[in-house]
């Protein structure tokens, strides 16, 4: 194990971060119209001659890459190349953006108005903007914002426009095109649209990847996309998708560009616009289809206060330096570059690692408001707490979070009680403060008795919304908490045992949280270091033991992740008790939900987060990955076959009832 001196170097609490500045302040004091019509002359990539979006389209259509695929397809299907070329054109028309400065100005005007009403402040790290300005000129740029709200799209473009930087071309889901007018508006402000799934369609893949690569190669504009693939409904970062990232890396691997800079952007909302919507969605009310009228209805939200937004533009990460020593680019020398082939094992692993790294960078620079600490504490005390105790507890948690390197926006001169109060004020729909006590809000009993399910449902909305705030801080505590849980579950306090339990939990939860594959040892070291630093544990020669002082900390950490542990156990129990041999995949979520509702109503289970479909889907993915479930396809119907003994073992291990027998994990 590494020595202490090594630890202190990567003490997360010492991380240097930039300061923020509010950009709305200036906007409030000047004319929106003037702002929208301001002179916009962004610096470009090494003096590249700006070209029209239509030029990009022509380049894509005439590219050797695309022509090659078209010829291949024509040979295979027997269709004329012109026909296939025509299809390619149609795909491109559907996909391509049509950046139009007028539209951008219109958006800027509208957003200005909206932002000023919705938010108190939009705070941005100016240094990050400066770095971006530099990076844009040097290398093609990939912007990688976190994705927790529709706002993410708009915010980034808005900020770049405000700072006179080149507007990005943004990869957006095709579902936006469903919104009549708005879809086209987005297109004209730089969005391009990709189908959610196009697995087998080679032509689509060719057009799409060539489109992205052409933009990148020419340094025409920064490319922006969301590694997480979709908005996170839980405010927890999602496991990254690597498809688009690996396309964006290819021009570098093939030597077509010298380097690519990747800029992680962390956007944190004090109050997410879609808060209640997300909770409902997680509980099974499907997400409303994007429609213009829906958006107009959403105007209601204009009357509420959404607090602050923090946008942190991270340090540009050079792909070249990441790849140094890991990727042998000569492997691309043996085939013409326009023929695309499946990347080698080393490349796939590399892209995956980079994706995780970037998401972790996003996580690390997420600004946390005191409210997320309050939410964390309240969720552990569902029946309410004394306001005074809450303030004390929040102050304590603040210390712990800071020791663990959290990026807290909590200036020293603000007292705990003030910080708590301002958080409570911003979320009246989630919490109630009455007679010196604070508790989660439950919907007032309406006229007439309602079904208990309905009550439960309403309560769950509050809990899940609240949980989405707690989730924002989970990444700070994740590793120490896994260690705390491992110490609970492990049969002995021997280092080996604790480590193998830690590894096991890490493995189980790797669909739930951002845990870089293959980084068990680093994570374990980090957890040990952090807990030792706050004197919660002591690392002896052979054993890891909790200190007397540390017990509250450890149990707090365990409790923070208890809902997940319980959730996974409930799903396992459902699969063991209610399912015979197999079940159709479609009925899985509904099945788990009704089982959980039953257990909750009967009082056996108090944890409402089990109802979250996000958690349920993560469990499914984890069980599939671990081989406890198997998918089998018969026509359209996908069936899940249950391996009961495997599931039983997982459930028992998570419950700490059985020792992890003969762990197959690497020992320390």
């Amino acid at each position: 194990m590494a020595s202490r001196t090594l630890y202190s170097q990567r003490d997360p609490a010492l991380k240097k971060r930039d300061d923020f500045e509010d950009i709305l302040e200036e906007r409030r004091n000047s004319s929106d119209l003037k702002y929208a019509l301001k002179c916009y002359m962004p610096v470009l990539y090494k003096g590249v001659t700006p070209c029209k979006p239509s030029m990009i389209k022509t380049m894509v259509l005439q590219s050797e890459q695309l022509r090659y695929v078209v010829t291949e397809l024509s040979k295979e299907t027997g269709e004329a190349t012109e026909v296939i070329q025509g299809e390619a054109l149609a795909i491109l028309e559907e996909m391509a953006h049509k950046l139009h400065l007028g539209t951008v100005r219109f958006f800027a005007y509208m957003l200005n108005k909206a932002f000023k009403v919705l938010y108190q402040r939009i705070r941005v790290n100016e240094d990050g903007i400066q770095r971006l300005q530099q990076a844009i000129q040097e290398h093609p740029l990939v912007l990688l914002p976190s994705h927790r709200s529709y706002m993410d799209f708009l915010i980034v473009s808005y900020l770049l426009y405000t700072n006179d930087l080149a507007l990005p071309v943004i990869a957006a889901g095709m579902d936006f095109l469903g919104m009549k007018f708005v879809g086209e508006m987005l297109r004209m402000s730089g969005a391009f649209f990709i189908r959610r799934s196009f697995g087998g369609d080679r032509l689509y893949w060719a057009v799409f990847s060539e489109y992205v690569k052409t933009i990148l190669r020419n340094g025409y504009a920064p490319i922006e996309f969301f590694l997480e693939g979709t908005r996170s409904r839980t405010c927890k970062s999602l496991t990254p998708k690597v498809g688009l990232l690996s396309i964006a890396m290819e021009p570098f691997f093939k030597g077509e560009v010298f380097d690519v800079s990747m800029v992680p952007i962390s956007i944190s909302y004090e109050r997410v616009l879609e808060e209640a919507l997300y909770a409902r969605e997680l509980l099974g009310v499907p997400k409303p289809k994007e429609s213009t009228s829906g958006l107009l209805k959403a105007r209601r939200i204009l009357s509420e206060d959404y607090g602050n937004i923090h946008v942190y533009f991270g340090q540009p990460v050079s792909l070249r330096s990441l790849a140094q020593g890991r990727i042998n680019r000569s492997q691309y020398n043996l085939m013409p570059r326009h023929i695309s082939r499946r990347p080698g094992e080393d490349v796939q692993v590399f892209v995956n690692d980079v994706a995780y790294k970037m998401v972790r960078l996003q996580e690390e620079s997420m600004v946390l408001r005191p409210w997320v600490l309050v939410a964390t504490i309240l969720l552990q005390n569902p029946h309410g707490v004394e306001a005074v105790w809450l303030a004390e507890q929040t102050a304590w948690l603040r210390g712990l979070a800071q020791a663990f390197g959290a990026f807290l926006d909590w200036p020293d001169h603000i007292s705990a009680s003030r910080a708590v109060a301002s958080g409570l004020a911003l979320h009246p729909n989630l919490v109630r403060a009455e007679r010196g006590r604070v508790r989660l809000a439950t919907e007032p009993k309406g006229p007439g008795a309602r079904a208990p399910e309905e009550d439960l449902f309403n309560h769950a909305v509050t809990v899940l919304s609240c949980a989405s705030y707690r989730n924002q801080v989970l990444h700070v505590f994740l590793r120490p908490a896994l260690l705390a849980m491992a110490m609970d579950v492990a049969p002995t306090s021997r280092k080996d045992d604790v480590y193998s339990c830690f590894g096991y939990l890490r493995d189980v939860f790797s669909n739930e949280f951002i845990l870089c594959p293959g980084a068990e040892v680093q994570d374990f070291d980090e957890a040990c270091f952090l807990l030792t630093k706050c004197s919660a544990i002591q690392i002896l020669k052979q054993d890891i033991v909790a200190t007397e002082r540390g017990r509250p900390t450890l149990s707090f950490l365990s409790a923070m992740f208890q809902p997940f542990l319980l959730g996974y156990q409930v799903v396992c129990r459902y699969l063991c008790e209610e399912v015979a041999e197999s079940l159709p995949e479609k009925s899985y979520v509904a099945g788990v939900r009704s089982y959980a509702v039953k257990r909750i109503l009967s009082g056996e289970l108090a944890c409402l987060e089990v109802l979250s479909s996000d958690l349920q889907k993560n469990v499914l993915a984890a069980l599939l990955r671990m081989g406890a479930l198997r998918k089998s396809k018969a026509g359209e119907l996908v069936t899940l076959r249950v391996n009961k003994s495997a599931i039983n073992t997982i459930e028992n291990t998570l419950g700490g009832r059985v020792s992890t027998q003969k762990p197959v994990l690497a020992r320390l």
Partner: protein
């Protein structure tokens, strides 16, 4: 014979003819004897390369002692000596270019140590029995420090830099001058017998560290200087071949052939000093390869002395299909397998007409596209090169002082036309230089064809002068490096061959990598990193890089230089280029290129094939006297 029954008239005619031919050949024939002794006494023939090379050439720099660039008292650059057309000329814009490109300053000088201090040199480690036998054979040799120092290096930056600082590594312990093939056979036999180590030395222009003596070599190292083996042994006009001793230097070979109305057309940039044997040993490439071919296309027959005997083919034929071509084992072996002693080369009648030319392109991309098209249509002139903008500026700085106001006015007008009228950006435009050769009519026709293609890519004809100056740059570049080294600027060139579709990407990435690496390694001034596409082929091109920087403020400039060059080569490989096109495998990188030896050893270790090829235990650039097993089918022993 079929003719035996026929009349005597015919017999007589044949006899007469034979006599005539014999008469022509007689003074030149006598191939079995050593020619050199005779030549030594021949006062008419001036020696291009004397045994004591240091008498005419610099011991710590490039070329002739009397020829060098310097900044005169007025701060103007001039070239000394009378050997070159440039001799005595003033280059008014070189100083500004030099100072602005490198951030150098004429006040900051870094002169070399003045003279060779012979007393500082370790005495030779002699192999007495070897020396005695050599003496008894009467083969000339030397143990003098100056001779040994001269042959201890090639022209890599680190070698010259060390010499300028008066530092010497391991030196050869003695120098021998064989006069002919048989002398070489004897020397190699002696070396085998007495366990000495031989390093063949031709022109000494190696840039692959192949001449460096292994510092840990315990045996006596003998430098085998081939300079006295410099005769054309015969010329066969019917088959257009010439049989030449391998020690002849390029300019001498060309001059002698020209006297008979022929040429080889092989013109590597180093041809003033490099030798035929060196070309064969390094797989050299000449500027005019589009007409005459590279060395592998020119060679018909090679004679090489190895520790296990002499390797040669039994015939002088254009092509064979009897297993792998042994020539391809010899070419590129860089002295590791043996000493090349005699070579039969293709020759051509001297061309009737020669014409330089140049084309200006608005940018490098267009220029490359044009060269690609020229290669596609297979109409490349004898030479076609495309210099990037930085190299164009460099070439421009070498414009000699103009003699009349009229010429300078014309120059101004040209510049105005190109930049203002045609809208070329002086910081982006680039120039292709051309050289046409052949029948007058055909040249003019060819010229038109090439200029027509160029016009399609936005190219404008820019005159013969610019073309000629472009070629001059490549001949004086090594002299310019010495000038740079007087003012804290070090640099070198390296080259690669690359498929057409990667040319642009490779050039951009390598140049950028150099700039970046310099910055990261603490070089205080932006480096010069420039390239030209210097040869075209059907499937790709050869790209040549110049890289130089001002090293003021660096503790170990050579180390920094080597690190950057290593990075640049790594970048080349990652971008689909080769380690080298014609310089030879750079030694620090040769781990990345699989040499034939490694392949042979690998295949043999798997027992897949019976070892068929001669294989020797070799060090870099050193013929090792201890060979292991051999296969005699490929070598005829002549003992």
């Amino acid at each position: 014979m079929a003719s035996s029954g026929h009349g005597s008239g015919r017999q007589e005619a044949a006899d007469r003819r034979l006599r005539l031919i014999a008469g022509h050949l007689h003074p030149r024939i006598a191939a079995s004897e050593c020619k050199a002794e005779a030549a030594e006494s021949d006062p008419v023939r001036a020696k291009t390369v004397p045994k004591r090379r240091q008498e005419v050439m610099k011991w710590n720099g490039w070329g002739y002692s009397d020829s060098r660039f310097l900044f005169n008292k007025k701060g103007q650059a001039e070239f000394t000596g009378r050997r070159y057309r440039l001799g005595g000329l003033i280059f008014p814009s070189l100083k500004d270019w030099f100072e602005s490109t490198f951030g150098a300053n004429l006040q900051h000088k870094s002169p070399p140590t003045a003279a060779l201090n012979s007393s500082a040199i370790t005495p030779p480690n002699l192999n007495e029995p070897f020396l005695q036998d050599l003496k008894s054979m009467g083969i000339p040799h030397s143990l003098e420090a100056e001779d040994r120092v001269f042959r201890a290096h090639g022209h890599c930056l680190h070698e010259i830099f060390a010499l300028r600082e008066g530092r010497f590594g391991r030196l050869p312990d003695m120098v021998v001058w064989p006069n002919c093939h048989d002398d070489v056979v004897k020397i190699v036999e002696l070396a085998c017998q007495h366990n000495a180590c031989l390093i063949p030395y031709g022109g000494g222009t190696s840039v692959s560290s192949a001449l460096e003596c292994p510092p840990d070599e315990m045996r006596s190292i003998v430098s085998l200087d081939t300079s006295q083996m410099n005769h054309i042994l015969w010329i066969d006009e019917k088959n257009l071949t010439a049989h030449v001793e391998a020690g002849i230097v390029g300019q001498e070979l060309e001059r002698l052939l020209n006297e008979s109305g022929f040429c080889t057309g092989h013109e590597p940039d180093s041809m003033e000093f490099s030798t035929l044997g060196g070309w064969v040993a390094t797989r050299a490439s000449g500027m005019k390869k589009n007409i005459y071919g590279n060395i592998e296309d020119l060679v018909v027959h090679i004679k090489m002395v190895t520790p296990r005997g002499v390797v040669e083919k039994s015939c002088q034929v254009p092509r064979m299909s009897t297993g792998p071509d042994i020539h391809h084992f010899i070419m590129g072996s860089e002295g590791t397998l043996g000493v090349v002693t005699e070579v039969t080369l293709k020759i051509r009648p001297l061309p009737e007409y020669q014409k330089y030319g140049s084309v200006v392109f608005p940018n490098f991309e267009q220029g490359v596209a044009c060269l690609r098209e020229v290669a596609k249509q297979r109409c490349a002139p004898a030479s076609i090169r495309l210099m990037d903008n930085a190299q164009f500026q460099f070439g421009h700085a070498l414009k000699p002082q103009v003699s009349s106001i009229f010429t300078s006015f014309l120059d101004g007008l040209k510049k105005f036309y190109i930049t203002k009228f045609k809208g070329f950006d002086t910081h982006r435009l680039c120039v292709a230089t051309l050289l046409f050769e052949g029948d007058r009519e055909k040249v003019l026709q060819h010229e038109k064809q090439v200029y027509d293609i160029a016009a399609k890519f936005g190219g404008l004809a820019a005159g013969e002068d610019n073309g000629q100056r472009g070629y001059m740059l490549t001949f004086v570049i090594a002299y310019l490096r010495d000038l740079g080294m007087d003012y804290y600027v070090i640099g070198e060139s390296f080259e690669t061959s690359v498929p057409w579709d990667r040319v642009l990407d490779l050039c951009r990435n390598v140049k950028e990598r150099i700039t970046r690496e310099c910055k990261e390694r603490g070089v205080q001034f932006p480096p010069m990193s420039t390239c030209r596409v210097t040869q075209t082929y059907d499937a790709g091109a050869c790209v040549y890089f110049y890289f130089a920087f001002n090293y003021r403020g660096l503790a170990d400039p050579v180390h920094v230089y080597e690190q950057v060059e290593h990075a640049a080569r790594e970048e080349i490989l990652a971008n689909g280029g080769s380690l080298s096109h014609h310089h030879g495998a750079p030694k620090p990188m040769s781990d990345t290129c699989e040499t034939t030896n490694q392949i042979a050893a690998y295949i043999q270790s798997h027992g897949l094939l019976r070892p068929r090829f001669l294989h020797l235990v070799v060090h870099d650039g050193v013929v090792d006297a201890k060979a292991t097993e051999d296969d005699e089918r490929l070598c005829r022993k002549r003992r």
